[in-house]
Symmetry: C2
Subunit: 313 residues, 2 copies
């Protein structure tokens, strides 16, 4: 038997066919197209799934489930996607529409939850009973695994670490509030801090590495300049590490999972990020002289989405 995992994203939809050992047998993708009706989008997705299953060399009756990770929230019991802004989906009957093509269980969950599940079963947090996965990219996503299962709250609106308030009356957030954690800890935040810092320090390596054009500064620009010990970049990076450490300590002080996993674009900084975080976050933990969660980097990469989606049950 095989399971199908779908990773729904703003630019493309990935489909994977996985065997019982969570190995990817085949992968296909289609570009995201929000200009066509929802039923047509699902028709294209179904076609993509048929192609992927065929590529895997298995027959459709060997597919036991179809799971999807979405950048939004869904009602698990009805299979309706409540809100998925990147796709322009609001209250769409995802399961109902896909069920027209596949008469197997169709599961939906948030993409960060699904990545958290993938890492906790087949990735860096495999073997742990509890973990929190934090994906650091344009925003901050998070997935909570407790007793081996995704915890997204009683009403399904939890696990939104990015919008936990970290700074009263702080930086305005796209959600309408102020001081949300992702305004300080995302790649977007690091870029903003980098751009602000070079305004008064045009001699910084950050600016030199982008030929003097601040619009071209990205997270990697800042991180690479900090690695090179550029003073401006080091100051920005240290402050960013402080914010991210405070966010991680908040997770420890409240949830205290066995392990915390960092994924997403910024986590590509590898040990340069990990060493700094491991050194800094304990000072913000209340019981800082006690055993506390280990911090690790995600290992499954972008495929965590399809792997975790296929694991949904």
């Amino acid at each position: 038997m095989v399971r199908v995992g779908i990773d729904v994203g703003g630019t493309g939809i990935q489909v994977g066919v996985l065997d019982q050992k969570n190995r990817i047998l085949a992968e296909e993708s289609i570009p995201t197209n929000t200009s066509i009706p929802f039923s047509e989008q699902i028709h294209q997705l179904a076609t993509c799934i048929f192609t992927a299953v065929a590529s895997a060399g298995v027959k459709m009756d060997r597919v036991e489930s179809v799971g999807a990770g979405i950048p939004g929230i869904a009602n698990m019991s009805t299979g309706v996607i409540i809100k998925c802004p990147n796709m322009g989906w609001y209250h769409v009957p995802f399961r109902g529409e896909l069920q027209k093509y596949f008469q197997v269980p169709i599961l939906i969950d948030n993409d960060a939850n699904v990545a958290a599940l993938a890492e906790s079963v087949a990735g860096v947090s495999a073997g742990t009973s509890s973990s929190v996965f934090i994906t650091i990219g344009t925003g901050i996503g998070s997935g909570i695994i407790l007793n081996g299962k995704i915890w997204s709250g009683f009403h399904g609106i939890g696990s939104e670490l990015g919008h936990v308030i970290l700074d009263l009356d702080g930086v305005p957030c796209s959600c309408g509030n102020h001081g949300c954690l992702e305004r300080y800890c995302s790649a977007t935040a690091l870029i903003r801090m980098g751009r602000e810092a070079v305004q008064n320090c045009p001699e910084s390596l950050i600016l030199k590495s982008v030929s003097g054009n601040p619009d071209r500064i990205n997270a990697r620009t800042v991180i690479d300049a900090a690695r090179e010990k550029d003073p401006v970049a080091v100051e920005v990076y240290d402050r960013y590490i402080q914010y991210l450490s405070q966010a991680i300590a908040n997770v420890v002080n409240l949830i205290d999972p066995e392990i915390i996993v960092l994924g997403g674009g910024v986590s590509k900084a590898g040990d340069f990020l990990l060493d700094a975080i491991r050194k800094t976050f304990p000072k913000y933990v209340l019981y800082d002289d006690q055993p506390m969660p280990d911090i690790r980097l995600a290992v499954l990469g972008p495929e965590a989405g399809i792997i975790g989606a296929a694991m949904l049950s």
Copy 2:
């Protein structure tokens, strides 16, 4: 069969004997005495338990367990209390010492966790599968119940909502960090805000009600003056409600329990508190158009400590 519940506090230790239906059959207490050796403290506690069990009219062989809620943290598997500053207890063998008197299971947990358990079994959150109990007093305590069980983290250092950072570089906290949530949401915080506000507004009802002595301002002084629509008190109270709402929204955005229970001194403000919180916190919740946790007031009062301790297993 009966169970013994112990509520360890900085001024006194309460002991209760409970029947199978969580009814208190007898209660006894001793004053906290930190000037005598630990073994002597436990001897006094054991004597108090013997007295309470006798008062309940049951024989010692009918006691099936002894549970204790402590203002600190313990290692559940060894029964050692790791840190309990109010009692001056650091790495003391609580279970080992008490086991000399009672050959039944002896359980220990944090006092806020224990109160959360009591409310979730026999109080306002009875029948729910998940709840977060927030006790608002000198500090902020919290207990998390997930799937009917206390969740205090993998390492036992979680569920410390009071020390989640709410304000980067904010008000200094006794824990050594800055901007901890309890610096904004505790009774102590409300008192501080009240005292600060009257400095420039000596005509405030807050000050009149304490005969002009700001040292006598307490949480109730401020709340009562706000009820009376004193402009200074209303401004302080509204800001306090905003902070507490942001703290509650943080719990919703991250954990999203079925219900959130407010206890402790400030919760005695009753509907005046509840109505304001219910109106304010949803605006800080990311998915504010979805069903979200109901906020309720604790109903068990100070006896939640012994009731919940007796429920430990």
